[in-house]
């Protein structure tokens, strides 16, 4: 099926509904989400920021093996979780732990891999959240598969797949868009364009007019959105999810945002970017923008803010206690989950390990 080019093209500028100073954008092409959705988003933003701050502190203290922070990208994290119904699936990357928690995954389970205890800490079926993916763009095809299977099975599921700007260079990104389009799979791709892939700036990644334009070649409509405007994200992603659910096929959404911190706590970002570039993005902070807007519209007062903050503090306190616990599974589990039935060799090897460890204990 061929598509009218105009329907595939992203808007000339990223969709923005609340500007960086917290004012409603005049004559926007889209409507604002309702007040309840924005209040929920504000609580989400506060939680996400707190998760990033707390995890960053735990990484510095050596309690986490590593932490790739989404500080600055919280609007994307929150919107990605908030547009999902219980039927929908989320396909997150290593940077999307905040989205995973806001989706409902228990924080201790979500952080198990970052504690260095196991590769994934939650039951993906229970939460409809795929294991966070590190090999870039690979998860996008899995999202297409889940979405396609849902269609074949008559389920109302839409898959929302996340990736970064750098990941759009990988072959799997392109294969995923094409498969989604050809099979008309109910999947939405959200690219968090945070301007960097570790040290490599977007300009070295792509010279396309925008990453959202990459959909055109596959017949996938693209849209771009101010990734620090949670209102715009909720509207654009919400529309894309609704289209996909209605059988109108996949969509690509590019969110313009910024990675405020180094790639992970192990990275030294001064080697490749200037502090004043980072400082410039403070003005576009997703939290202050929405807070200003909510206060101006009398939707948020100090008491409500205190309540939201208290909830986030409580989560942070839980992170501190939960992540101080050693939740490392027994070594025997290393051999239990390779196949449905361990091979005879694995049974043998598990016994070797048990023997090695028991002798270590004796020492």
């Amino acid at each position: 099926m061929t598509r009218d080019l105009d329907l595939l093209l992203p808007s000339p500028h990223p969709v923005e509904l609340i500007d960086p100073t917290g004012q409603t954008v005049a004559e926007a092409a889209h409507e604002l989400p309702d007040d309840a959705a924005l209040l929920r988003a504000f609580a989400g933003l506060t939680t996400a920021r707190r998760i990033n701050d707390q995890a960053g502190a735990l990484a510095r203290q050596g309690r986490l093996a590593v932490y790739p922070s989404s500080h600055g990208q919280e609007a994307c994290q929150v919107a990605a979780a908030q547009v999902l119904t219980d039927d929908d699936w989320l396909f997150p990357t290593y940077r999307d732990t905040a989205a995973v928690v806001i989706r409902g995954v228990d924080v201790a389970e979500a952080f198990l891999p970052l504690q260095g205890a196991w590769h994934s800490g939650y039951d993906p079926h229970r939460y409809k959240v795929a294991p966070q993916a590190t090999p870039l763009a690979t998860q996008l095809l899995h999202a297409v598969g889940v979405a396609h299977a849902a269609r074949l099975r008559g389920e109302p599921t839409v898959a929302l797949a996340l990736c970064g700007d750098g990941a759009t260079s990988e072959g799997d990104f392109h294969e995923a868009l094409n498969f989604a389009a050809v099979f008309r799979a109910p999947v939405v791709f959200l690219v968090q364009n945070n301007q960097y892939a570790i040290s490599v700036p977007l300009a070295r990644q792509s010279v396309a007019p925008s990453l959202a334009h990459k959909g055109i070649g596959y017949g996938v409509p693209g849209e771009r959105v101010d990734g620090n405007d949670v209102a715009a994200l909720l509207t654009v992603l919400g529309t894309a999810m609704a289209r996909a659910r209605a059988g109108e096929g996949p969509q690509l959404v590019e969110a313009h945002t910024y990675r405020m911190q180094p790639h992970t706590n192990a990275d030294d970002s001064r080697r490749y970017r200037q502090d004043d570039e980072v400082a410039g993005w403070v003005q576009r902070d997703p939290l202050t923008r929405l807070e200003t807007w909510l206060r101006q519209h009398d939707l948020l007062d100090d008491a409500q803010l205190a309540a939201v903050t208290a909830d986030a503090d409580q989560l942070a306190a839980r992170m501190r206690t939960e992540l101080a616990r050693d939740a490392t599974p027994e070594p025997a589990e290393l051999f239990a989950h390779v196949y449905a039935t361990p091979t005879p060799q694995l049974v043998e090897q598990a016994a070797v390990v048990a023997d090695e460890l028991s002798r270590e204990d004796e020492h």
Partner: protein
């Protein structure tokens, strides 16, 4: 392949393996304009392990540059550049992130010479930081050497110290054939006294690292220090272990390895990779085939288990340490001799 490269750097100095690799790249780039270095984050950042630190500043960004984030693209483009007179040295950021390039490596890098009856050779190097021991999260600790060693057409080289890192990388860049250069990342920061001007054997030669008379430990890359430590402990217990460092998996130095094993009559192979269908299996097979009549016991292995590499808190379970090596040595039928 046994000729010795002159490095132009003489005298002893303290260097880490990372610095020695950086030096090798620098020297090769200075000597030969056709040597180009590219990959992910190798430019301004100098690579996540800083192996390419300062190369863009010194040689400009046509000689050392960041690419779009696509490993198949990196290796595929290197193939084309090597076909057209260049000597690409590409970096895969981590072992498990080389897999998107697997098709290019196995279908083209390895086969170009054969397909074209040597009309086209591919003088290129694929550098891969590999193996565990750094507390890395998933996909950052694979021992992937067997995939490459199993693919005819690829040289597979892995240094275990700074001097060899320098010597072997220089040789790899000079090689007319593609080399998969596997860098044990846990050894990147080990500082050693080295003499970069010293004459060392090139690709294809193993070296005896420690003399011993009772049994031979055969190791490569990250397992060499483990084998040496095991030999030290064994010495205190009255057992004399010889240690052979392969340096080069392909070509394999049957001569040095077999001479060593024949001299002791017993052998243990030490490697991090899961043992099943591994480089360690190949070594056991070769040694058994060639040295059977000199052996007092079956050749044993102290290797990783056949499981996906565990998370940091469990990696000690997987990695063969001194105890696992000495357990294997204990199993060499001493009571029968």
């Amino acid at each position: 392949m046994t000729s010795t490269a002159t490095t132009g750097t003489v005298g002893h100095e303290k260097l880490t393996m990372a610095q020695a690799l950086n030096r090798a790249l620098r020297e090769s780039m200075a000597e030969d304009d056709s040597v180009v270095v590219f990959g992910e984050d190798v430019g301004a950042l100098g690579g996540v392990f800083r192996i390419t630190d300062g190369l863009t500043a010194e040689f400009g960004d046509t000689r050392c540059f960041d690419t779009p984030l696509a490993e198949s693209g990196i290796v595929g483009m290197a193939v084309g550049m090597a076909m057209n007179g260049m000597r690409p040295v590409v970096e895969m950021q981590f072992d498990a992130f080389a897999y998107p390039a697997f098709e290019q490596i196995t279908s083209h890098v390895a086969k170009m010479r054969n397909r074209t009856r040597s009309k086209v050779s591919l003088p290129m190097v694929i550098r891969i930081p590999y193996a565990g021991g750094i507390g890395g999260v998933e996909h950052h600790c694979d021992s992937s050497e067997a995939y490459y060693a199993h693919t005819p057409g690829l040289h597979v080289v892995t240094p275990a110290n700074a001097a060899d890192a320098h010597r072997l990388l220089r040789a790899a860049i000079a090689s007319p054939d593609p080399v998969v250069f596997m860098e044990p990342k846990k050894l990147y920061w080990t500082k050693e006294e080295v003499d970069l001007g010293a004459e060392l054997p090139g690709i294809g030669r193993a070296m005896v690292r420690r003399e011993g008379t009772d049994a031979t430990l055969i190791a490569y890359g990250p397992s060499v220090p483990v084998a040496l430590e095991a030999a030290e402990v064994a010495a205190q217990e009255g057992r004399s272990l010889q240690v052979v460092d392969l340096r080069s998996i392909v070509p394999f130095d049957d001569e040095t390895v077999c001479a060593a094993v024949r001299s002791t009559g017993r052998a243990v192979v030490v490697a991090e990779a899961p043992g099943f269908a591994s480089v360690a299996s190949e070594i056991v097979a070769r040694v058994t085939e060639r040295c059977f009549h000199s052996l007092a016991a079956p050749v044993r292995r102290a290797v990783g288990f056949d499981i996906p590499f565990p998370s940091p808190k469990l990696e000690h379970v997987q990695l063969p340490g001194v105890d696992r090596v000495l357990d294997a040595v204990d199993d060499l039928q001493w009571d029968l001799s």
